[in-house]
């Protein structure tokens, strides 16, 4: 709920003109799509299906325009989720969404939701001194390894291919994929619009990638 408006506000802060919409036409005509999301996976997919938007988003993703999923929006990009039953997702990233449950190391339940500031680490190296090569060309390119981001979630995505993972985050002894990118498709479990200046840097990068795509097209 609040998420929609804070996403729009973050876009505006970096000079992006954001429209909150469920219209097919508007979505297809836009230069990029952000899927925000607070709530349950099944409900969200049902609404996307009712509005006939599933294919629209898939088409857009295949067209090469940036598609960014935030929090539940990231999870919706996956093949399926196990939140309150089994639900099919948008299938843009292979893998499933599963609940934060047991701290296997300490053998006690994790506190759910995972809420607050946690670090995001490169999937290549947890060493903060190591420059993040894997982030080059991604929306989190400008962030130092180990940056704190703001999280509020009870489920997390498990992409099948390790290659798409940009960052990992540790919660208890669990290490989960906190952001991924596959070509033009980006997802993050944290809320960059609530993560201060470092979070805003992700929006700035998104704005830059939209602009550079537009320039390429104007040369075509």
């Amino acid at each position: 709920m609040g998420n929609l408006f804070s996403v729009k506000q973050a876009c505006e802060q970096v000079g992006l003109n954001a429209i909150i919409t469920n219209s097919k036409k508007t979505i297809l005509a836009s230069s990029a799509v952000i899927l925000p999301g607070v709530g349950a996976f099944g409900d969200a997919m049902q609404i996307l299906e009712q509005l006939d938007l599933v294919q629209v988003i898939q088409e857009l993703a295949n067209s090469g325009k940036p598609v960014a999923g935030i929090c539940l929006g990231m999870q919706l990009l996956m093949t399926e989720s196990h939140e309150f039953g089994r639900h099919r997702g948008l299938g843009l990233i292979e893998g499933e969404v599963t609940r934060l449950s047991v701290d296997t190391h300490l053998d006690r339940p994790l506190k759910v939701p995972h809420m607050g500031w946690s670090r995001i680490y490169s999937a290549d190296s947890i060493d903060e001194q190591v420059p993040v090569g894997a982030w080059k060309g991604s929306l989190i390119e400008d962030l130092p390894n180990g940056t704190f981001m703001y999280f509020v979630h009870s489920y997390y995505p498990k992409p099948e291919s390790p290659d798409v993972r940009l960052s990992l985050t540790r919660y208890g002894s669990l290490e989960f994929c906190s952001s991924f990118q596959k070509r033009n498709i980006f997802g993050c479990q944290f809320h960059p619009e609530r993560s201060g200046p470092r979070g805003l840097a992700i929006y700035r990068k998104l704005a830059a990638s939209i602009h550079s795509l537009q320039e390429q097209h104007s040369y075509d």
Partner: protein, 253 residues
């Protein structure tokens, strides 16, 4: 691993910060947006706005302020004060607040915790507890309502447990004995509540020094420390607090 949070608290009335902030170079110390923005730029992890507006148009005045804060601040913020129903809570969340805090209304109607947690998610429902120790029996602390004016028979530790069971996502514990003394948080009460509930506890009331913040997070076992005057009057700045805590081995952002 979750970082421990530092949360400045701003009291607002009629959409203006009261008790005053003492920032240097602020054009208007009473503007909640300017103060909030300053804290967020300095590295505050979250903000709390406690509203004490008495006007009959309170609902709209507060929502308007929340909208303006949400428009310019990129860290999570909580709004509390006078929220009595699910509809009141929805109004504030829709205006852009990340969380709401409820106090008196939760005690008068505990179902409000459950209903709003089910509707909006536990993560945005903070139950605020104002507690004062009993004169005859110092080990026991009772819950007070109506801004600390009305004593109830509820035991603070028990009430915190019940609020958590009903679906509260966080407890904001203010020690009325310590509040305003700058002699430190009530560490014993804070740690008793922190260790008895599974949800995060925010320590409030009594912070006077950097060490108080450290003790609240360690001895008090709190997940976050809230303070008002030490930050407002620049006795302690957020970067100083972060540097001090980091130095003493506390994980902060």
């Amino acid at each position: 691993m979750l970082a421990k949070r530092i949360i400045p608290c701003l009291d607002v009335k009629d959409g203006r910060v009261v008790k005053g902030t003492n920032f240097v170079n602020l054009r208007d110390a009473g503007d909640p947006i300017e103060s909030g923005l300053r804290y967020s730029e300095e590295g505050a992890d979250e903000l709390v706005f406690l509203d004490i507006t008495a006007s009959s148009d309170r609902r709209n005045i507060v929502a308007d302020m929340v909208r303006r804060v949400a428009d310019s601040i990129n860290i999570p913020f909580t709004v509390g004060g006078g929220l009595r129903s699910v509809a009141d809570i929805e109004h504030i969340l829709r205006a852009g607040a990340d969380k709401v805090s409820i106090n008196t209304s939760a005690i008068e109607n505990p179902r409000l915790i459950q209903e709003s947690a089910e509707r909006f998610g536990s993560q945005c429902i903070v139950v605020a507890i104002d507690a004062r120790r009993e004169a005859e029996q110092k080990s026991s602390a009772k819950v007070f309502t109506h801004g600390g004016r009305v004593r109830t028979d509820l035991d603070a530790v028990e009430w915190a447990g019940r609020a958590a069971a009903l679906g509260a996502g966080e407890i904001l514990l203010t020690s009325m004995d310590a509040d305003g003394t700058k002699a430190g948080y009530d560490l014993d009460l804070t740690s008793r509540i922190s260790t008895s509930v599974k949800i995060p506890v925010i320590a409030s009331g009594g912070a006077g020094t950097l060490e108080d913040l450290y003790l609240g997070l360690t001895k008090g076992a709190a997940s976050a420390v809230l303070a008002a005057s030490i930050f407002h009057f620049r006795e302690v700045t957020i970067p100083q607090a972060k540097a001090y805590l980091r130095e003493r081995g506390v994980l902060v952002r």
